[in-house]
């Protein structure tokens, strides 16, 4: 793969070149925080952000998505038959995604693209996307990516990674898609060895800036029941108000619910984000709810991320250390604390 160099001020124009054939999504500040929005012609690229408020998971797994439609009008020939909603999957380039969020789709992918089950919408969207990441020169004090198999310049899940070298951007490609897209954008300045060395130094410097870390080494070998019945859950859960902020902002929370909504005779089958923090998440049709208390729900959230995921996929923890849940939890429930309690729980 290759390494390309471009003057900072030339990047927006290069990205505009891509707009002929692609949707180009970039971080845009609106209402005080960033989210991925289409690159507007008249605007210059704003990459002065720490991260987007919501994780970009909605690009692959929209919060609400109509997947089937049907009619319940018995007079119609196709009454009560589900029909897939046709959708466009335009080629899309996502520019400025942080390495943690790119790694996140790789962790989530194990749920949507398995040897037995293929989620068609997830897979088609993923196929249509090229991820151009932006390395983090200045990680936040709540970032702990380096202790969860990620890092400020981690390339997992990315086609291209941008290194901000001050005057210039270095763009390193890792996939053919990445190569192609840079060609189409007309980004072809070659980077010499000095530049690559500078990039390596930048990466090491950024990694050193991450002061927050979590222990994970014992999680895999812990027994599920011991963690499940550990004495710390009540304390950890006390403050929790059971809102869905942590799960909805999290780049690796993938749970969804499927609902049918009917208006007059016309029905839609909709897939919506769901959250293990909500009582309805486990409410059975019988009326029984196996998770009636918040302590059970908060335990599920942390056990899923830090234990069940490891055991099931042998793929590390289901957390990329982005720190969103720490920063936006209304009552300061800190996942780093959960890591410590679970990892250090005495046997």
């Amino acid at each position: 793969m290759s390494d390309k160099l471009i003057n900072k001020e030339d990047l927006p124009a290069a990205l505009k070149n891509l707009k002929k054939e692609n949707e180009v999504l970039v971080p845009v500040k609106e209402n005080g925080f960033y989210g991925f929005k289409p690159l507007a012609d008249e605007k210059t690229l704003d990459l002065h952000f720490s991260n987007t408020r919501l994780s970009p998971k909605s690009l692959l797994l929209p919060q609400s998505e109509k997947i089937f439609e049907f009619t319940i009008n018995e007079k119609e020939e196709d009454a009560n038959i589900l029909k897939e909603v046709s959708k466009e999957y335009p080629p899309t380039v996502i520019v400025g995604i942080r390495p943690c969020d790119a790694k996140a789709w790789r962790l989530v992918n194990v749920n949507f693209d398995t040897p037995e089950f293929k989620d068609p919408w997830w897979i088609k969207r993923l196929k249509s996307m090229v991820f151009i990441g932006l390395g983090c020169n200045e990680p936040c004090h709540t970032c702990f990516c380096t202790s969860v198999n990620c890092g400020p310049f981690n390339q997992d899940g990315l086609d291209v990674l941008i290194y901000d070298l001050g005057e210039k951007f270095l763009l390193r490609t890792f996939t053919d898609n990445g190569e192609q897209i840079l060609k189409r954008a007309g980004i072809n300045g070659d980077a010499d060895n000095d530049i690559l060395k500078e990039a390596d130094r930048l990466k090491i410097k950024a990694e050193k800036k991450i002061t927050s870390n979590v222990p994970t080494e014992n999680l895999a070998k812990k027994k599920i029941n011991e963690l499940f019945n550990a004495p710390f859950w009540d304390d950890l859960a006390f403050a929790c108000i059971n809102c869905g902020t942590c799960t909805f902002l999290c780049p690796t929370c993938w749970c969804f619910d499927i609902q049918d909504e009917v208006f007059k005779k016309q029905g839609d089958r909709i897939r919506n984000w769901d959250s293990c923090m909500f009582p309805l998440f486990t409410h059975h049709a019988s009326g029984h709810n196996p998770r009636t208390d918040k302590v059970q729900r908060i335990r599920q959230r942390f056990m899923h991320k830090l234990k069940y995921y490891i055991d099931k996929y042998n793929n590390g923890v289901a957390c990329v250390g982005c720190g969103r849940c720490i920063n936006y939890c209304p009552v300061n429930i800190d996942i780093r604390e959960a890591f410590k309690l679970m990892n250090d729980q005495a046997e």
Partner: protein
């Protein structure tokens, strides 16, 4: 604010030691600047974990319903009013509580500070009587607390606890009748269409995480109407009608009960000004019934009682 800390710990220690209460509900210092975490303290030796500063923005009354033990609780003005609500609404018994009242000097809005810092990362925050001191890499700013108060604290007329057993500091002078509801009046002045588009825009970013609902001490229903599933009352998608129904019904459920503590707004991860819904109802309760919630354990709230003097202009 921080000067209350010693007295809070001292009182908490005393009532636990004297077995007046089984547990204390208060705040712990947060793991990141400008945060606090509600905490349940059972052990005497842990009372020094109790903390108080200008970022104790969550309403601790939320943690009272369904508890059976004797509870010591730290309460600023608005928390105390929600404790009154809980007593009136039979969610907790007065005899169960030992209230350590905190005359509140206003809570600082961490979003406003974050926006002031404009991307610079805060590493340390401290405070004096009037000021907040913000430190990070290459900067130190001293800002006036009152310039960064939460919006609800700016219009607060009940800083002193409405109900308490002991105080963590001297009662302070109330700011009088300063809540002019100018924000509500602005909206009232709009046309029907303008109002609709105003509220539609207001909730446009809502992700239905229900943080506003769950941070609210009034929301203790065993099953919230949005969680009803048999039959289901409200759609679960991000359809704007369903989202609006959630917000409007939530607000109406708070009519005559809301103390404008601002927990809903502080909890919202999308920075939606959800108080603009409830404030209209607070204004109506005041205009129509001369009622402010949570001030008196003996009076029934206007919406669950009838008086021949009740306003009837909307019928007749």
């Amino acid at each position: 604010m921080i000067e209350y800390l010693d007295r809070i710990r001292e009182q908490a220690n005393k009532i636990l030691k004297d077995k007046k209460v089984d547990v204390i509900i208060g705040f712990k210092k947060g793991t990141i600047p400008m945060t606090t975490e509600p905490a349940l303290i059972r052990d005497l030796e842990k009372t020094d974990q109790l903390y108080w500063d200008s970022f104790c923005n969550i309403n601790l009354a939320s943690y009272l319903p369904k508890r059976n033990e004797k509870i010591g609780i730290i309460a600023k003005g608005c928390d105390s009013r929600n404790i009154v609500n809980h007593i009136v609404e039979n969610q907790i018994k007065r005899e169960q509580l030992y209230i350590i009242g905190v005359p509140c000097q206003g809570m600082v809005d961490q979003r406003k500070i974050t926006s002031f810092l404009d991307g610079k990362e805060l590493e340390e925050v401290s405070e004096s009587d009037e000021n907040i001191i913000l430190k990070g890499k290459g900067f130190e700013h001293t800002v006036k607390k009152s310039d960064y108060w939460q919006d609800n604290c700016k219009s607060c007329t009940h800083r002193n606890p409405a109900i308490y057993d002991v105080l963590a500091g001297d009662l302070i002078e109330e700011d009088g009748d300063i809540d002019s509801f100018s924000d509500v009046k602005d909206i009232e002045g709009k046309s029907f269409d303008e109002k609709w588009s105003f509220f539609t825009d207001l909730v446009n970013n809502c992700i239905r995480c229900y943080a506003c609902r769950n941070a609210c001490p009034l929301c203790y229903c065993p099953t919230c109407f949005v969680d009803e599933s048999d039959p289901q009352w409200v759609g679960k998608s991000t359809d704007r009608t369903d989202t609006m129904i959630f917000h409007v019904l939530r607000a109406y459920h708070c009519a005559g009960r809301c103390t404008d503590c601002g927990a809903c707004e502080q909890a919202c991860p999308m920075e939606i000004k959800v108080r603009l819904f409830t404030r209209k109802l607070n204004k109506d309760a005041l205009d129509l019934y001369g009622w402010e919630a949570g001030l008196n354990t003996e009076k029934r709230p206007p919406l669950d009682t009838y008086s021949p003097d009740d306003d009837d202009k909307f019928i007749l």
